[in-house]
């Protein structure tokens, strides 16, 4: 009797600790972000006030209104930036996933000479400091005439994301027992069919998370985009953030408003794709 009470207590303590820990962690994660969301609704005078204004006296849509306003009234071509960001991020993510699936499959399923070397070689391309890359890339793109086009930025982003998707998909593919595909092949499937029918559904969670990462990287990338874009034809939202700065001034409230528009679609997308990450649960079951 005593023992079961203490066990129950221990359980309760563990539960409370779990809850408190989770609460603190989530607060640290969310507060700096929510601060930005809040700022986008506050008049500038309250954002960086001293003494601080903890409970907002006034919330309004002024920053948003100004952002959608005309040039010279604080307007920024948000919708164009939004469209550019969407086109560039989605296209580059899809291509990077396709290329990465090929590569990841090759590494997970085939044996060949120099495999490790090729693998590390591919990974290291991501480690190159942007500055060593951005100028020659600019010169080549300028000569090819693909500066300030969607195509140019997409190409750069695919290259940026491919090593990562290969690595991730390779990792997930490895965990799928080879026997699964082999059984399918024995049943008369081609290797291609075996991949699509058996391995792909199982590896879906891995592919989904690779997809989220690739999308978010493209969506948020600044340094390369600022070098390869020039005008509203291809400027993405992170580059557009700097429209709120001039030589001496910075409109932080306005920046926050644009930031919220940047965060929202990414958040929604992540939420939707979460479902596919849950497929990983079934995947664990498959192996067990």
């Amino acid at each position: 009797m005593m023992q079961s009470v203490s066990a129950q207590n221990r359980k309760r303590i563990a539960k409370t600790a779990h809850f408190v820990g989770l609460f603190i962690a989530m607060s640290i994660i969310c507060i700096p972000g929510l601060w930005i969301v809040l700022n986008s609704f506050r008049p500038t005078v309250e954002i960086m006030a001293k003494p601080p204004v903890w409970i907002p006296n006034e919330l309004n849509l002024d920053h948003y209104r100004a952002m959608f306003g005309g040039a010279g009234e604080g307007g920024v071509p948000v919708l164009t930036y939004f469209r550019n960001s969407m086109i560039i991020s989605i296209t580059s993510t899809v291509i990077a996933l396709l290329v990465g699936m090929g590569g990841g499959y090759a590494f997970a399923r085939y044996h060949f000479k120099g495999k490790s070397a090729i693998f590390v070689g591919l990974m290291v391309t991501r480690a190159v400091p942007g500055v060593a890359l951005s100028l020659p890339l600019f010169i080549i793109f300028a000569r090819l005439g693909i500066i300030d086009t969607h195509f140019g930025i997409i190409l750069a982003y695919v290259a940026m994301n491919v090593p990562f998707t290969i690595w991730l998909i390779d990792g997930f593919m490895r965990q799928i027992p080879k026997e699964l595909a082999e059984a399918a092949e024995i049943d008369g499937c081609t290797r291609w069919q075996a991949f699509w029918r058996v391995e792909f559904p199982v590896a879906r969670s891995g592919i989904a998370s690779a997809g989220i990462f690739a999308f978010l990287t493209s969506w948020n990338e600044y340094a390369l985009a600022s070098q390869l874009s020039r005008s509203t034809t291809s400027k993405t939202m992170p580059v557009g953030l700097l429209d709120f700065t001039s030589e001496f001034t910075l409109n932080w409230g306005g920046m926050c408003a644009l930031a919220v528009l940047m965060i929202l679609p990414a958040l929604v997308l992540t939420f939707l794709v979460q479902k596919h990450l849950i497929a990983g649960l079934t995947f664990g079951g498959v192996k067990g």
Binding site: G75, I139, D148, S231, T245
Partner: protein
């Protein structure tokens, strides 16, 4: 203001047709332009269709970025050899870095148009005898913003006089700024003043202080001269304020936006800052000092010289441009009187004498705007540009960490300046300057 803009537009159309460009003069010409983006600069671009209508040419804005990104792009363009576009935004502090990019505007622009600009601005836009840019109405020099009620407080005045032996009035010298800043400071809730503490900004502030102390920044051959007695005095001013905790401890990491936000929060007594902030500081929805805001000309150093590090934005025409006449006509249009009137109506300072008179006249009846204009006009009289060397920015990158080291007491003033001078000297030699 809308009324004014409309009126001006009609006037310009008429003017454009009457003088300068003839109708259809540049039919079929397309001018590729790279312009500075950002809210403060965009209102002017709304006028471009008027020029297009008047001349038959078309303007194609192929790049619109902020100042620093644009600088990067120009350098990349020079490197890639892709400089066939025609009109680019330029800045007096950066212009010397692109010696081969831009063409001489003398001869392309009518002399009487050039004569309409403030002489000192044209001088600063002329490098090695070549007029590389025409200034737009974005002239920048700093004046002293302050909180007015500090000077109407009886108790403060008495206490100050007792301690320092002279009356508490809006400071006219940097020595007074120092006294008052230390006197007003009450950290962490209130500070006497603040200064930009990083990158080119701190070097610019230091440079103007060296000049105000009667020193020189570079010798005539561009060897460093700032490690002189005057240079040390100048740096000592920054160090003393920091040591006395009269400035926020983070000031060495501040750039212009931090300064503006800090002063707008009402926690800074005296703030040397740019004209672009006047509107922000006086807007009650953005700033707590609105209604309590005073502006005075920049104070003087011990040599009796005002600080006056200045710069301006402008437009240039590339050397590789196919139709320089059309490009120059656009540049002329964007910097003409009516363009400057539109731009300076929103606050920025003009670079044409006639527009200075116009805005002064226009501000009559508006006490605050008159005060602002008077302060900046007085400061602008003795303003000076950065040293005309393409290596200015590179030199600032060697100097600013040393200035910061002195301010943060990592090094003494003497050591820091000696190290900075040595690094600049080495760089100048490596670049073959002397």
């Amino acid at each position: 203001m809308t009324k004014f803009t409309n009126g001006a537009s009609i006037a310009v159309l008429a003017l454009g047709l009457a003088s300068g460009a003839q109708a259809g003069q540049f039919d079929g010409v397309t001018i590729d332009a790279k312009l500075i983006g950002g809210q403060q600069y965009e209102a002017l671009y709304a006028r471009i269709p008027e020029w297009e209508a008047a001349t038959g040419a078309k303007v194609n804005i192929i790049s619109k970025k902020n100042h620093f990104e644009l600088d990067k792009e120009f350098k990349s363009d020079i490197a890639a050899g892709t400089t066939g576009w025609c009109v680019g935004s330029n800045h007096s502090s950066f212009a010397a870095q692109y010696p081969s990019l831009y063409t001489d505007l003398n001869g392309l622009i009518a002399q009487d148009s050039i004569d309409g600009f403030v002489g000192a601005n044209i001088a600063a836009a002329t490098l090695g005898g070549r007029l590389v840019m025409l200034p737009r109405a974005q002239f920048d020099v700093s004046a002293l913003y302050y909180q007015k009620d500090l000077y109407t407080d009886e108790a403060k005045s008495t206490a100050f006089k007792a301690e320092y032996g002279y009356d508490l009035t809006v400071p006219e010298t940097w020595a007074q700024v120092k006294d008052q800043a230390i006197f007003f400071a009450d950290g962490p809730n209130f500070y006497g003043t603040q200064y930009a503490g990083k990158d080119e900004a701190i070097v610019g502030r230091y440079y103007e202080m060296v000049v105000a102390e009667g020193g020189k920044f570079f010798n005539d051959d561009f060897s460093p001269a700032f490690d002189s007695a005057e240079g040390k005095q100048a740096l000592q001013w920054f160090v003393d304020l920091y040591d006395a905790k009269a400035v926020p401890a983070g000031t060495t990491n501040y750039l212009w936006d931090d300064l503006g936000n800090g002063f707008a929060s009402g926690t800074i007594a005296l703030n040397l800052d740019w004209p672009g902030w006047a509107g922000f500081f006086s807007d009650p929805s953005a700033s707590k000092v609105a209604g309590n805001l005073g502006v005075a000309p920049a104070p003087k150093g011990s040599a009796g010289v005002r600080t006056g590090w200045s710069g301006f934005h402008g437009f240039s025409v590339t050397e590789q441009c196919d139709d320089k006449a059309a490009a120059a006509s656009l540049v002329d249009f964007l910097t003409n009187e009516d363009s400057q009137k539109i731009e300076s109506a929103a606050g920025p300072l003009p670079t044409r004498t006639a527009v200075w008179d116009y805005v002064t006249e226009d501000a009559k009846g508006d006490a605050f705007r008159t005060e602002v204009l008077a302060a900046f006009k007085e400061t602008a009289k003795t303003a000076f540009a950065v040293p005309a060397t393409p290596l200015w920015i590179e030199a600032t990158n060697l100097i600013y960490p040393e200035l910061q080291a002195a301010i943060l007491s990592d090094k003494t003033v003497d050591e820091a300046l000696a190290d900075a001078a040595e690094a600049v000297d080495e760089m100048m030699r490596e670049e073959g300057v002397y």
